[in-house]
């Protein structure tokens, strides 16, 4: 299944946000997530379904002004 991860199409076999993060190699990373523009809290990742073509944003702390 193709998911659009941080703007790039990526292959991942996963039916939930949590499974997608694991399949994509983010299992232990400190990240915040959004699905199709909506925030997905960490506690809801395991119950949030993902499907073909969904847009995932996976963000981490960065320098800011």
């Amino acid at each position: 299944m193709i998911l659009v991860v941080n703007g790039e199409p990526q292959e991942a076999e996963a039916d939930t946000m949590a499974a997608a993060l694991e399949a994509l190699g983010y299992e232990d990373a400190s990240v915040a997530t959004a699905l199709n523009g909506d925030f997905v809290p960490k506690r809801k990742r395991a119950e949030t379904a993902v499907k073909e073509g969904d847009r995932l944003e996976i963000l981490a702390p960065r320098q800011g002004g």
Partner: protein, 256 residues
């Protein structure tokens, strides 16, 4: 003491963490500035890169409060989603709310700003909005629940200083009880001192320190400028006069 929402700070300088030559210089500059609030952001993370962890460890070591921003957001919706992500990631409900309306000036989209501020205040955020010196927008932001306002001095990163001193002075006079933080456009320590002399409660800057020849020394210079400006404001600055008035006594002058 600077009072913002439920917290007090000795320092009246807020510093950004971006654009430094290296993480080590950034860390030294933050320490030299004695800032107790540093701004941070969040960006896309790659599964292999993991840049976020190292940055976050470094920032946590400062012991400063982190103020996440919504830099680069061009709509209320984007800013609200980013705010929620930031709250979880940085474990804080404080937020520097930016909704950008124009690419050349990075001017706030004040309509989107008010819309986002209303929603975020309702969701329990402590919103510090990056705004203009427009008094009507300021009123709307206060009505939306913001307890602090952060008007720009000049466009972000421009180093122009205080482009509209009249407007900024009017804002200070109009909202005597609201903490006002001059945010963006500061280039030289004299700009920061000037804002503080006008009675601004604090100054937020980034590029002026990060892009200085010696960012650590410049951080110290800004700390001194902010302190000097604040002390001068409290001391009471003499009103200007049109004509000269001798400072040396006239009485007792010799007739030669």
């Amino acid at each position: 003491m600077l009072r913002l929402y439920d917290a007090s700070f000795s320092s009246r300088l807020l510093l950004g963490t971006s654009l430094y030559p290296s993480p080590a210089v950034m860390a030294d500059a933050v320490r030299a500035s004695e800032a107790e609030i540093v701004t941070v952001s969040l960006r896309r993370e790659s599964a292999r890169g993991r840049e976020g962890d190292a940055f976050w460890r470094l920032v946590r070591d400062f012991g400063a409060r982190v103020l996440p921003n919504t830099a680069g957001c061009h709509s209320a919706r984007e800013a609200i989603t980013t705010a929620e992500m930031a709250r979880e990631l940085f474990d804080t409900d404080w937020l520097k709310l930016e909704v950008i309306g124009e690419a050349d000036t990075l001017q706030p989209d004040v309509f989107g700003l008010v819309e986002a501020a209303l929603e975020l205040n309702a969701r329990g955020f402590k919103v510090l909005p990056y705004t203009t010196e427009d008094l009507v927008v300021a009123e709307r932001l206060l009505e939306a629940g913001c307890k602090v306002l952060m008007p720009w001095g000049a466009p972000i990163g421009s180093g122009q200083g205080l482009n509209n001193r009249f407007g900024l002075a009017a804002m200070r006079a109009h909202f005597p009880e609201v903490p006002l933080i001059l945010d963006a456009g500061i280039g030289a320590p004299s700009h920061a001192a000037s804002a503080m002399e006008m009675g601004y409660d604090a100054v937020l800057l980034n590029t002026a320190v990060a892009k200085a020849g010696d960012p650590v020394a410049m951080a110290r210079a800004f700390k001194q400028a902010v302190d000097a400006g604040r002390t001068a404001y409290i001391a009471g600055i003499m009103p200007p006069r049109d004509m000269a008035a001798p400072s040396t006594p006239v009485f007792g002058k010799a007739a030669l």
